[in-house]
Amino acid sequence: MKKVVSLVLALALTAAALLSGCAKKQERKVVNVYNWGENIDEGIFKIFEERTGIKVNYTTYESNEQLYAVLKMGGTNYDVIIPSDYMISRLIEEGMLEKLNFDNIPNFANIDDRYKNLEYDPTNEYSVPYTWGIVGLIYNTSMIDDEITSWSALFNPKYAGQILQFDNSRDAMATALFYLGYSVNTTNEAELYEAYELLVRQKPILQGYVMDQIYDKLEGGEAAIGPYYAGDALLMMENNPDLAFVVPEEGTNLFVDAMCIPKGAANKENAELFINFMCDTEIALRNMAVTCYATPVRTAYEALDEETRNNEIMFPKDDVLNRCEIYKNLPQATLNLYDELWVKLKS
């Protein structure tokens, strides 16, 4: 019996020691960052810790929707999140973001004016842009002889079995909406049904719905054409020089991922310091080298070599940008319709 008592006491002691250890750790200054997978140069965390003494706890998610689910569920505490445009406006509408204190973010002045006050955050109180890019068509010039200029290529039976399509509802519907000449932010049910019908007709000529598998399929010559993000197109073209990237004439989607602070963040000031740090010229350049997405930090853009600055895939010219449309958050009824149509399409 004595043994049991001493065992219980020993366990209690270790538990107490462990708990106090945890408590001590919490006193240390930290910032909890939640970002897309593979979307940052992790080497910069050390620099941030050296400069500010704040440790970065870094975790990753795979989609805006996952981020939203995690935030909505509660029970976790993040200080910096990096959602995309339409998700930011949704989070703002639902009161899930903190207003930023721009006094702590002097480097906001480095951001190009073009990327301030965008539709998703019109007064720019909640977000600081981190990366941006456009969607386009990537195709293999050795497999497709015609010059591709339009979204119609994705729906052309001539390339049956060689076409890839996005495996997420918003991006996939957007390819159809652009082709039909409608806004990607439409809430008109007739237009959405028309786009859906187009996707239904496209399904038999598709090789598949893909996200990151598109890399292997296009690089390896398994598929000939598919839509994806510009930064990723550059990476694919490095491995297969036959690949080309075009911005369809009907226009395309411009996406911006921006840094925000969720409501109730425990380390708001640390978060602002981190956001400020991310807008530093040198840090922005390091991140851009890893992500291959364009940076909105003007001073970083100016520091790039001429070849990169003139790369029209990474930094499209104004005439292209003027044809672009940013996703807005859709009303709940439309979101439900998207879900319903997407499930019907995929099943």
Binding site: G37, T60, T76, D212, N239
Partner: protein
């Protein structure tokens, strides 16, 4: 024994190809100099170097191993004790408990995951309200609440591991001679001594089996971790989060290393078992000789 037919051999070869070709491809592409998983661009060790510098992957590997080891050990202890208790119950009670024990095993992971995360979140919110009230009452800052994190992840893993341990220990208890325990007590052992020196060694294979199953279940798990890990990340969660861009070949490198470690462990265990069996055979043959001599002298 009859030699296998050509068809049999072909089938076996096919089975092994399907089992090991993916691993072979994975290992080959961990040495590919580009990020591509289809185009071979040259040989490199870069991904192995980068792997050890990648803090996200290394952290999640650490979390995965730590949670698997802790959960497996704790679940084994708890499961063994539970199995002994269940074994000594009345038949009707035992069947009822075993039925309850089987439900989490058969149940879909996603249901376990979602329900656990709901439980944790609601418990946390109740505690938040409680600590708020207590803080007001005592005028000091009291925080009893918690965030989803390593603690909740560990609890979840222990929870889904325990039934497997019980299922692997119980059969060993059934094989046990009921009189052993009493015999040990008759010979002067306390019940604790009898339990640790007689019962535990007898059911050890079941315990070890349970430990290994629990460890593999934990290391494998994605769905339950996904819902309960909060701000920490297991390896499978990290890999999943890479699917918008492209899963880096560092993962290939890591998988290759894990594969080699498991292979080495299997080889060592097999070699040791083989040598132990040899020794056992030698000993038993020697004791046979001894017996014969004794028999002989008796006559």
């Amino acid at each position: 024994m009859k030699k296998p037919s050509i068809f049999g051999r072909l089938l076996m070869a096919l089975v092994f190809i399907f089992l090991y070709a993916p691993i072979a491809v994975l290992i080959v592409f961990s040495f590919n100099s580009s990020k591509s998983r289809t185009v071979w661009t040259g040989f490199t060790f870069d991904w192995y170097v980068k792997l050890f510098q990648d803090t996200t992957i290394m952290n999640s590997l650490y979390v995965t191993l730590l949670v698997s080891v802790l959960a497996a050990v704790i679940a084994t202890v708890a499961g063994t004790i539970a199995a002994v208790g269940i074994y000594n119950m009345k038949r009707s009670q035992r069947n009822a408990i075993l039925a309850l024990n089987n439900i989490p095993v058969i149940n879909a992971d996603i249901i376990t995951g979602v329900s656990m995360s709901l439980l944790f979140v609601s418990a946390a919110s109740v505690l938040t309200k409680l600590s708020l009230a207590l803080s007001q009452l005592f005028g000091a800052k009291i925080n009893l609440s918690f965030d989803l994190g390593f603690g909740t992840l560990l609890i979840a893993h222990i929870t889904f591991n325990v039934p497997y341990v019980i299922l692997s220990v119980l059969p060993k208890l059934r094989q046990l001679d009921n009189n052993l325990f009493e015999a040990a007590q008759d010979l002067g052992a306390t019940w604790l001594q009898a339990f640790f020196k007689v019962i535990i060694p007898q059911i050890r294979p079941g315990i070890v089996n349970g430990l290994i199953i629990a460890f593999t279940m934990s290391i494998d798990d994605f769905v339950i971790s996904y819902f309960t890990a909060g701000r920490v990340q297991t390896l499978s969660m990290t890999i999943y989060s890479m699917t918008k861009k492209r899963i880096t070949p560092e993962i290939n490198a890591l998988s290759t290393l894990l594969f080699i470690v498991v292979l080495l462990m299997l080889i060592i265990i097999n070699v040791r078992q083989a040598s132990q069996e040899k020794k056992l055979k030698k000993n038993s043959s020697r004791s046979n000789e001894l017996n014969e001599i004794i028999e002989y002298t008796k006559i």
